[in-house]
């Protein structure tokens, strides 16, 4: 048997052949190959059947929005004080309604050169806050222009002319 079609296995036809023929090595080889192929096919079928996909019921993922939506703010400067109901003192937030944040200051004309530029920024900040005009604001603007003594109305033409170099910062 020279022309041996090995892939086309004849395992069923083996029974019709004689036992002596079946015991020959080339017949054994093809029988083994057929057995291995059949086992592999069975194994693949078993693996495919063992895979499963999770099936979710419709209401497991909640359609409601989370009850709490939170944004964090790390700086005290951004905490606008207002009039807090918890806590009676009004000096809680920095740079509140009546005061501004002044990081760098000079008194009695100790440091003049930066003062003019800061006075300009102070006036621009004042203009942006003009819509909320109040008594405290008027005193504050008077203080920025002429020094602390004028805001206190102690001595309008005081010999101690205060020149504040202030760091203006918008409240927001």
């Amino acid at each position: 048997m020279v022309a041996d079609k090995a892939p086309q296995l004849a395992s069923e036809e083996d029974r019709r052949l004689s036992s002596k023929l079946q015991s020959m090595k080339f017949m054994q080889r093809s029988a083994d190959n057929a057995k291995v192929a059949a086992e592999k096919k069975l194994e693949r079928k078993m693996i495919d059947e063992s895979h499963w996909r999770a099936t979710y019921p419709d209401d497991v993922v909640s359609k409601e929005r989370p009850k709490l939506q939170v944004v964090y703010e790390t700086s005290y400067l951004k905490m606008l004080p207002g009039s807090s109901t918890v806590g009676s003192d009004s000096g809680t937030g920095i740079g509140g309604r009546d005061s501004i944040v002044a990081g760098r200051r000079a008194f009695q004309s100790f440091n003049q050169p930066v003062e003019t530029s800061n006075a300009e920024t102070g006036q621009s900040v004042q203009q942006s806050e003009d819509d909320e005009e109040s008594e405290s604001r008027r005193t504050l603007s008077a203080r920025l222009d002429n020094g602390i003594s004028s805001a206190h109305n102690a001595k309008p033409q005081s010999s101690l002319r205060e020149k504040n170099k202030q760091l203006k910062r918008k409240r927001n």
Binding site: R65, P66, K67, L68, Q69, V70, V71, Y72, E73, T74, S75, Y76, L77, K78, M79, L80, P81, G82, S83, S84, T85, V86, G87, S88, D89, G91, T92, G93, I94, G95, G96, D98, S99, I100, V101, A102, G103, R104, R105, A106, F107, Q108, S109, F110, N111, V114, S117, N118, T121, I148, S149, L160, E162, N164, K165, Q166, L167, K168
Partner: protein
Amino acid sequence: MAETKVVLPGDIIDTSLDSDEEESSVLRLGPGVAQIDEQVSAVAAGVLHSDNEKKQWWVVSNKRRYVPAEGEPVVGVVVARHGEGYRVDIGSAQGALLPLLAFEGATKRNKPNLAVGTVVYARVAVANSVMDPEIECYNSHTGKSEGYGELAGGFMFKCSLGLARRLIDSKAPVLNALGSGIPFEVAVGLNGRVWINTEAPATTVLIANAIKNSEFLDAKQCRQMVKELLEKQ
């Protein structure tokens, strides 16, 4: 309603609004407050504050350890100079970076030259828990120096963070009282450092002592203390 509420870490804060139950609006949590498991709890010990509409909550506490936050003015000391900038000590866990060009009007050809040990007044530009903080000696949003920059001469001392927050207010009674009697300049950093500059060392010591002693005094006591100090001078 007008009582002060002192909270400890772990206290749950009731943030529900009485008027509307349906509206789930965004809550802004400031320092000292965090969301833990669907509830808002205090993380720091101090006095609890909120704004009018109860949308913002924060705890005012006093510590000495500074955690940098963006936009805050700080006083720092240059400790090293790298190729791209300076390493500045602002009291945070990691030293802050100050780029060479983070000054008003700085270009590649026109850069300031700060020596190690220089005191600078800067603004925190970048601050989060994963990166080194970065500071800048001008306001990058407006482009102006706004008082930031090198602080020449003078004397720097440390104070608590709560006192620094009170001093940075333009209405701080101790500074205003001192200013009406002594010419000086001051730079307050929210990292708990204050820099003052006066003409004579004696006045520097006087102002430093006055500021440190004013931590637990109210406005009237501050003015009284300053008055007595100036009289003794």
